[in-house]
């Protein structure tokens, strides 16, 4: 029991730190990547090649004056960013970061909790992620914030539906709700993208909407809403909101990599005949490679595609994504039945 608690605590702390560091460095990567795509070189003054920029930004955020508007609801105004941050961090619990390590005869799982309903847990966390934004937007007592919050919530509810429906097909074909098992099933090349491509496309589009990233970043669209739900925030409150967005991006990349791209599985790794521990670590590194790819993809799309109009967003969600996901479920179901029937 003691060893169990200790290993879990260590794992949680490590994941926490890694998440924060990755989120931090996503900010600089975002700026750099945007610059590269626009034939610029991006921030390059703080440290060699601008590598210390996130630290400088963090320090700046901390040093700024915290302004709470006079007519804001004080308690909820402070709660908003905290909630956003907490929910963003919570989802990392069920993600399997790698195969288990063996230290002596102690087995250390690289997953904090292998809930047998891991996918549902992710959905639960995602669905309460709206509250941080809504509460913050409302508590600011500002029309722009409120509009941003309303946009965020309606957008998230709409796309959550399509997102869960798209995963239903995956759950049907894998037959499990546990993230650990889904990752384990995809050893070698049996990645779920190949069996469920449509589901993946729907999922990634919805992930963009859920994380409020660019083609769907209406809640914070500057041209119409100033800053959207975080218009009134300054200092670390704003920092938390911005940070939560990057953590969300990281987590949804990790979820995508786990569910559709084989998680920690690396093709042909088991044929090299390495020690199991080394193999597990390489698998984890490969997993982070996949995550990095998805984060880059998020950014790549951000600097390519312009923002949707609000009615277009809703049309896409309700009239395209959800029917497509339903059709996908239907197809998966029929294929499964046929397979049972003819035994292939």
């Amino acid at each position: 029991m003691g060893g169990f608690l200790l290993s879990k605590t260590i794992l949680i702390v490590i994941i926490f730190v890694i998440t924060l560091v990755i989120a931090m460095y996503s900010t600089i990567l975002e700026r750099k990547f945007a610059a590269w795509l626009q034939d610029r070189i991006g921030p390059n003054r703080t440290g060699p090649g601008g590598i210390l920029q996130p630290l400088a930004d963090g320090v700046k955020m901390f040093m700024k004056e915290e302004i709470i508007p006079a007519n804001a609801h004080k308690f909820l105004f402070i709660m908003g960013p905290m909630l956003a941050m907490t929910t963003a961090l919570m989802a990392s619990v069920v993600i399997p970061w790698g195969k288990s390590l063996k230290i002596g005869d102690f087995v250390m799982d690289l997953q904090v909790a292998d809930l047998n309903i891991g996918i549902l847990y992710v959905f639960g966390v995602v669905s309460i992620g709206v509250y941080g934004i809504m509460i913050g937007g409302w508590a600011s007592n500002n029309k722009f914030s409120l509009l941003g919050a309303l946009r965020a919530s309606s957008q998230m509810i709409s796309y959550e539906l399509a997102m869960s429906l798209s995963l239903v097909a995956v759950i049907m074909s894998t037959g499990t709700l546990s993230m650990g098992e889904i990752a384990a099933q995809q050893s070698g090349w049996h990645w779920n993208v190949f069996t469920q491509p449509l589901s993946f496309i729907i999922f990634i589009i919805c992930a963009f909407a859920e994380t409020n990233r660019t083609p769907f970043d209406l809640p914070e669209c500057e041209t119409e809403l100033i800053g959207g739900y975080h218009t009134e925030y300054s200092s670390m409150g704003l920092g938390f909101y911005l940070f939560a967005e990057y953590i969300n991006m990281f987590i949804s990349s990790a979820v995508m990599a786990t569910i559709f791209f084989g998680g920690y599985n690396m093709p042909f790794l088991d044929q090299l005949g390495l020690a199991p521990n080394v193999e597990a670590l390489i698998g984890t590194a490969f997993f982070f490679g996949k995550i990095a790819f998805f984060i880059l993809f998020f950014m790549w799309v951000r600097w390519t595609i312009p923002r949707f109009r609000y009615d277009q967003l809703m049309n896409l969600g309700w009239k395209v994504m959800i029917p497509l996901a339903l059709v996908n479920i239907l197809i998966t179901g029929s294929v499964l039945i046929l397979r049972d029937h003819f035994n292939f």
């Binding site: 590269w36 034939d39 610029r40 070189i41 799309v301 390519t304």
Partner: protein, 183 residues
């Protein structure tokens, strides 16, 4: 319909083709275009270390010239101040005393000569107006200051130092586009 200018055009929105309606192929195309720029040469010039090459006709910080013997050319005629569209130049004239011949070339000189660099638009009209070959614009950059007053440059900043002559030969070459006014 009759319109005022007769230039009205009715735009017709083309129907989207099937692949355009699917969005994804078009999005992929867009993504390809952006990713190509990742490998393009960057246009940024890292300023303090690298500087952009100046145009040959660059007009910056003025200089009040001296002649070969080190005497100030300016005779405080005020033509530059009259020509200046921004009214940036203020001159106070004074008469040359005996014994000051080695300082001033003409018998009248500018006791003070101020250019307000915040007003100046660096048009170069002062240079063109000057009959005495006294004022030129150079390719030096006017530095930034914190106070507005500091932008009013007096003779201390404008007149060239005797031992540090400023080369304005480039400004004296008239460009191919230059056409002297005929009257």
């Amino acid at each position: 319909m009759l319109t005022l200018s007769n230039r009205k055009k009715v735009m017709e929105q083309e129907k989207l083709s099937f692949s355009e309606k699917l969005y994804l192929p078009v999005i992929a195309k867009g993504l390809l275009i952006t990713i190509k720029h990742l490998f393009k040469r960057k246009a940024t010039i890292k300023y303090p270390e690298q500087t952009r090459e100046f145009a040959k006709v660059y007009r910056g910080h003025h200089v009040l010239k001296r002649d070969e013997q080190g005497r100030e050319n300016c005779t405080a005629c005020g033509l530059c101040a009259v020509a200046c569209p921004a009214e940036a130049i203020t001159i106070v004239a004074a008469e040359r005393k005996p014994g000051e011949e080695h300082l001033y070339r003409e018998e009248k000189y500018a006791a003070s000569y101020d250019i307000n660099m915040l007003r100046c638009i660096f048009c170069g009209l002062c240079e063109e107006a000057c009959p005495k070959d006294a004022i030129y614009l150079t390719d030096r950059i006017v530095e930034t200051e914190y106070e507005r007053e500091d932008f009013i440059y007096g003779k201390d900043k404008l007149v060239e130092k005797i031992d540090q002559r400023i080369d304005v030969s480039k400004r004296k070459i008239k460009s191919e586009f230059y056409q002297p006014i005929k009257n």
